[in-house]
Subunit: 515 residues, 2 copies
């Protein structure tokens, strides 16, 4: 395996899984040549004129779709830890004796631990997508036959659009669908809100199967997935476990440490003028982020101002803000609770978006750059503001990238982080894995001080006399190390188990097998 | 020019405008090989990070888009006869000395007569799209430099998708847009309802310009056109003349002849069981069609049944039916009046569709085949049920195809037609131009009798004892000729001025220059 040092100083391979890789060339440095992936031209002649594409079951659909060795099978993660589809697909593949598949989920969850047996026996060659929990550990330990590739939500759309990943069969689970294949995530026992993570799959896959437990008469409206892209539809009893799809209760943190981080973050946004009439923000569904939104809401109420839009992941707090008139629009990528689903179904100002509209870097612009401030998490940050979101400081690959990399293009990126976790400092000389280049990360908020990227002289100036504890990132690192000691270096083997792609499809880092 | 006889017996050229043509091979006989058109991969690097793609004016946008000799420029016809964009584009082209353009509108209207000067002076080489009125006459007289090509709405999507027509610059006029290029036709002085006819253009054109007289702050919701496909946005005072965009008052016919046709059509649908609970229909905005809908509504009210969906062109009568609960959904391709626009903006069951969802024959099915009955017009029908919708019996090319060909795939196709117009019989031995193969046309309703296609033995059986005047098409033709005399044959020159494409991109007929 030939390694080269990429633009951010990481040694990355120029080829994995028999496919050429382009090393990261710097932010905004790489420009694609060539053309979007061109699917075969289908013809209505090959589809039932009455629009009814139902087949008896998933197995029949997979057989009709031509499932065979070496194919790429995609799924989406709107059902999260309640997904019942992906495991079935590979049970069927195993039964049919199909080998060497590439699984290309938009994300995987603990419920997919079931698939480890198929990674072991060669049914699945590798996963390209996030691997939370047991699958991540399996990969980190070098047990996966192929090399994993992790992409952001936008990077996944980009990879499919650009033909980097050619999907042979996409299986799209939907809370609601018609026999033609029009589908949405809004209605039914497995409601998940939207299906945007399956959009690229529907548009570019060779064969598309829609699976639902709520088959309605044509037309299924709205059609978040368009039946015109769909080959087969399948009705089954249950596509997901409702209580695991949606938490039902998204909760604001009660941890005093996290509340402090949230308050400092909100205050920072306030003193620097980020919170203003017509501003926009994206937080997340984590406790700290939610709390930041709540602080934003308080400020907006006090001042009588409102936000033009908030980007989701939506949840009941964001919905309340929309309904209270504090936000004109929620531009939502996924709903995290049932209130989000309800609002999206009822309120035209709660808009479903997709990785294409929001995050695709190989389009004529996307929404990320229009967001005034995003509040994100990270497992580690280094003194150059480079951040890690996939591996822990013990080297284990336990998280996906999600929309994290894509959001770095927002006008101001703030990472509220505890200074240490389990007595391990979060600010390091070097992060274990670089997921985001420091030049795109503006502010680190910790309980012991706020570090502003020296590039953001405007923010430094504005925060100067705010009374907020502004420090350099080196100071924060030193403080953490004074308390916890200098963290030991983890030992890795040379073997590369996963690549981390940047939003433009280049390789920003590689993850090595833990010893 | 080499001519071959196609599967429906018409002599068509194998090449026009330097491009190879495939002769019509029969209904459902031709299957495309190859891949969809693959646009260049763009990169966010080349677009403003804040999403603001505004340029000063249309001229600047066209220059930035690289307007030059021989390009293909597309526009849409949602502004109908009130369009102010297309003429400006070619005024600018003329000013810049650009020559030999292909204009690729989704349809042209009398307001575009202004462009004849540019067809004469070589600014425009040819029009590929419908040519109503003066432009049609100009073409029929052999005055256009290139050969016109007419496509159905679905055929236009197909041609763009398949790369048959590569659009260099698409100019999309929108009633409402943001600076990023998200756009809809719902709000503003130039509201036209939707923008579906520009969908293919936005997805596949090399450069896309959105022009609006109602620039709103991001996000413009809903985004019927996605800004992620857009290169430049332009604000101007007026993109259309409202009273010419939308009639404001769609009117039911008061003509006793047409009312009779409508009544006979509705009665036919009733006795043959087409009107049933959960059925679906598509009429049009013409007087006769509107009246058919009204009869349908009466029957549904009487029986206490409803339609699952109606396909638009929508109008106030269809909206009333939706609001009365006689229809579950309107699946709309274009709104013909302001009530249609209002309903689409307010009512989520009034759904905007596109030529992709409804009509594209080179997709994995479309909506047309799911419609129980469509009521269409025609200029002529022949004894084999082949029909013409583009030329008059005097040979002049005066109409476009619209969605007409696409609708022929519906379960039952009925053409209510007067037996003669201006003492010229409508039923002929041979139509002047074949637009639709007779095997897809089921019923001809005239004031003197109803002819059922012999292929539809089911309908013949059901109509048998209905009291309706069922006749053969030959009988109807004979009756007309008894009254009006046998029509004289028109003389054409050999010169081909236009091709008529079938829904699969093959050439079903050619239109010759009138003598």
């Amino acid at each position: 395996m030939k390694l080269v040092k990429n633009a951010i100083g990481r040694l990355v391979p120029t080829e994995v899984n028999g496919e050429k890789q382009i090393p990261f060339q710097g932010v905004n440095k790489y420009k694609p040549e060539g053309f979007k992936h061109a699917p075969k031209i289908p013809s209505n002649v090959d589809y039932p004129l009455n629009g009814d594409k139902r087949v008896a079951n998933l197995k029949e659909a997979l057989i009709k779709a031509g499932l065979r060795d070496g194919m790429t099978i995609s799924t989406h993660h709107h059902f999260r830890n309640g997904d019942l589809i992906a495991n079935q697909i590979f049970d069927i593949a195993k039964e049919l004796g199909v080998k060497n598949l590439r699984w290309f989920p938009s994300a995987s969850f603990p419920c997919h631990e079931h698939l480890i047996q198929y990674l072991e026996d060669g049914t699945i060659n590798r996963i390209e997508g996030s691997m939370n929990g047991a699958l991540g550990r399996f990969c980190s330990e070098g047990k996966m036959k192929g090399t994993a590739i992790l992409r952001s939500h936008g990077g996944r759309y980009q990879a499919v659009q650009d033909g980097e990943v050619k999907i042979d069969i996409a299986v799209i689970g939907a809370a609601c669908a018609d026999s033609f294949g029009n589908a949405n995530g809004l209605y039914g026992q497995s409601a998940s809100g939207l299906l945007g993570f399956a959009l690229a799959d529907s548009q570019y896959a060779d064969k598309v199967i829609v699976v639902t437990d709520n088959m309605v008469e044509f037309p299924c409206v709205p059609w978040q997935i368009q039946g015109n892209y769909v080959d087969f539809t399948v009705e089954m009893d249950k596509v997901g476990i409702p209580e695991k799809i949606i938490s039902g209760t998204t909760k604001i943190t009660k941890s005093p440490d996290r509340l402090l981080l949230a308050e400092m973050t909100a205050k920072f946004c306030d003193v620097t003028g980020i919170i203003r009439d017509g501003f926009s923000f994206q937080t997340g569904a984590g406790g700290t982020s939610l709390s930041v939104s709540m602080y934003f809401a308080e400020v907006m109420r006090e001042r009588g101002i409102k936000a033009r839009f908030a980007r989701g992941g939506s949840n009941k707090y964001l919905v309340q803000m929309l309904e209270e008139g504090l936000i004109d629009y929620i531009l939502d990528g996924q709903t995290f609770d049932l209130e989000g689903v309800r609002s999206m179904a009822e309120n035209n100002n709660h808009v479903w978006t997709s990785p294409f509209t929001s995050y695709n870097f190989h389009s004529k612009g996307n929404f990320a750059g229009m967001v005034d401030v995003v509040i994100l998490g990270a497992t580690e940050v280094d003194v150059n503001f480079n951040a890690n979101v996939v591996t822990h400081s013990d080297g284990l690959l336990l998280h996906g990238i999600g929309g994290w990399q894509n959001c770095l293009y927002s006008k101001t990126v703030i990472l509220p982080l505890p200074l240490f976790r389990d007595r391990i400092p979060v600010i390091r000389d070097e992060v274990t894995t670089v997921c985001g280049p420091g030049e795109l990360i503006d502010v680190i908020v910790t309980e012991r001080g706020i570090a502003i990227n020296p590039k953001r002289t405007d923010l430094i100036e504005k925060a100067k006399n705010s009374g907020l504890p502004i420090k350099t990132i080196q100071e924060l690192k030193d403080e953490a190390e004074e308390i916890c000691g200098k963290p030991e270096k983890i030992e890795f083997s040379d073997e590369i188990v996963a690549l981390i792609k940047w939003v433009d499809g280049t390789v920003i880092d590689a993850v090595r097998k833990v010893k």
